[in-house]
């Protein structure tokens, strides 16, 4: 009954209130990161229009920073693209994990929706079991994507046009960690399987961050999933 009321209430608007509530704390943490990206692109002599357009097309901050650094060091296009693929390889796993939610969607959404797949959108969307209903997931996903896009591109554009509008060392950079902790902790407390894979992923990420920082996330996430695969295989 409660879920039916919530569904009816959420269908009143084109946007999804739960999505805005979920993504708001994460948006706070995106601002300093977008500022760093804006400053980096300005320093590299990238035109503000190209910077904002490119940030929308790539839609992945860490990979964009790496691509810009490699471009400035004179690396070739193939090297840059290979680095971007390694850094963003985790998107493949996120996509596989969210595929059931995209399965019964209209064709346009199946091809355009995944463009907005980033760590932040994956984490909040994967946590909500009630998003199995296609229209509800679509509205949730587009609300999250819209909110991230507005904050991300506005901050980058303003920073490139006017310079950093806030100090770069704001404590807001801690916001994503706080959000990820709050989403992970209930799983750790209630699910032994989550405890096991999180431990494996954490150790692997820590080790990979020392050896090969650009690939730390894909190594860590793959190790967590891989440990579950091995455990199931041995049973």
């Amino acid at each position: 009954m409660d879920s039916a009321i919530a569904l009816r209430r959420s269908q009143r608007y084109w946007w999804d209130a739960d999505a805005l509530r979920d993504i708001a704390p994460i948006l706070v943490g995106l601002v300093p990161f977008a500022m760093i990206l804006g400053v980096t692109m300005s320093d590299a002599g990238v035109h503000a229009g190209v910077g904002v357009f490119g940030s929308f097309v790539l839609y992945a901050g860490s990979a964009q920073l790496a691509a810009l650094a490699l471009m400035q060091s004179g690396a070739g296009l193939a090297t840059i693209l290979l680095s971007v693929v390694i850094i963003n390889a985790r998107m493949l796993l996120y996509g596989a994990s969210l595929e059931p939610r995209f399965r019964n969607q209209p064709r346009w959404f199946k091809w355009i929706g995944p463009h907005f797949l980033v760590d932040q959108s994956y984490v909040v969307a994967s946590e909500r079991a009630e998003l199995r209903e296609p229209a509800r997931f679509r509205r949730y996903w587009l609300t999250v994507a819209g909110a991230i896009t507005i904050v991300w591109l506005t901050t980058i554009g303003v920073t490139m046009a006017l310079g950093p509008v806030l100090p770069k060392d704001l404590p807001l950079r801690f916001a994503p960690i706080a959000v990820f902790v709050s989403l992970l902790l209930p799983k750790l407390l209630n699910d032994p399987r989550a405890r096991r894979v999180a431990l494996v992923a954490a150790i692997a990420t820590g080790a990979a961050a020392i050896i090969t920082p650009g690939a730390a996330l894909i190594v860590g996430i793959s190790a967590g999933i891989g440990s579950e695969l091995i455990r199931k295989g041995s049973k």
Binding site: L58, R90, S182
Partner: protein, 103 residues
């Protein structure tokens, strides 16, 4: 090299990764064992993201990572006690900021 070409090329490569198991080779065609293992992508990703962010903090110096670890512990404690995302975020950022003044 032209930044626009680099960013568009990188965007296309990333888009292919994003739709890889959604539109190109749907994940439902993967073996059942693999699909079941993908259920743990969420906790794996969150643990990896936390550690990756903390490793970034560590690269900024001992004082910064000390503050970040204290703030992470406070965030976990607040989550355990109150189960309130906004409160966790405020407590975490506040502790991180306070630690940066003290440590």
């Amino acid at each position: 090299m032209n930044a626009a070409i680099v960013l568009v090329g990188a965007g296309l490569a990333t888009w292919v990764l994003r739709i890889g198991f959604i539109g190109l080779i749907p994940a439902r065609t993967l073996p059942v064992r693999v699909r079941r293992a993908l259920d743990v992508t969420g906790p794996s990703a969150m643990a990896a993201l936390i550690v990756n962010d903390l490793m970034h903090e560590a690269s900024r110096g001992a004082a910064v990572i000390t503050g970040a670890l204290i703030a992470t512990a406070v965030a976990a404690l607040v989550m355990w006690r109150f189960q309130n995302l906004a409160l966790v975020t405020i407590a975490g950022i506040g502790t991180y900021w306070a630690a940066s003044l003290v440590v």
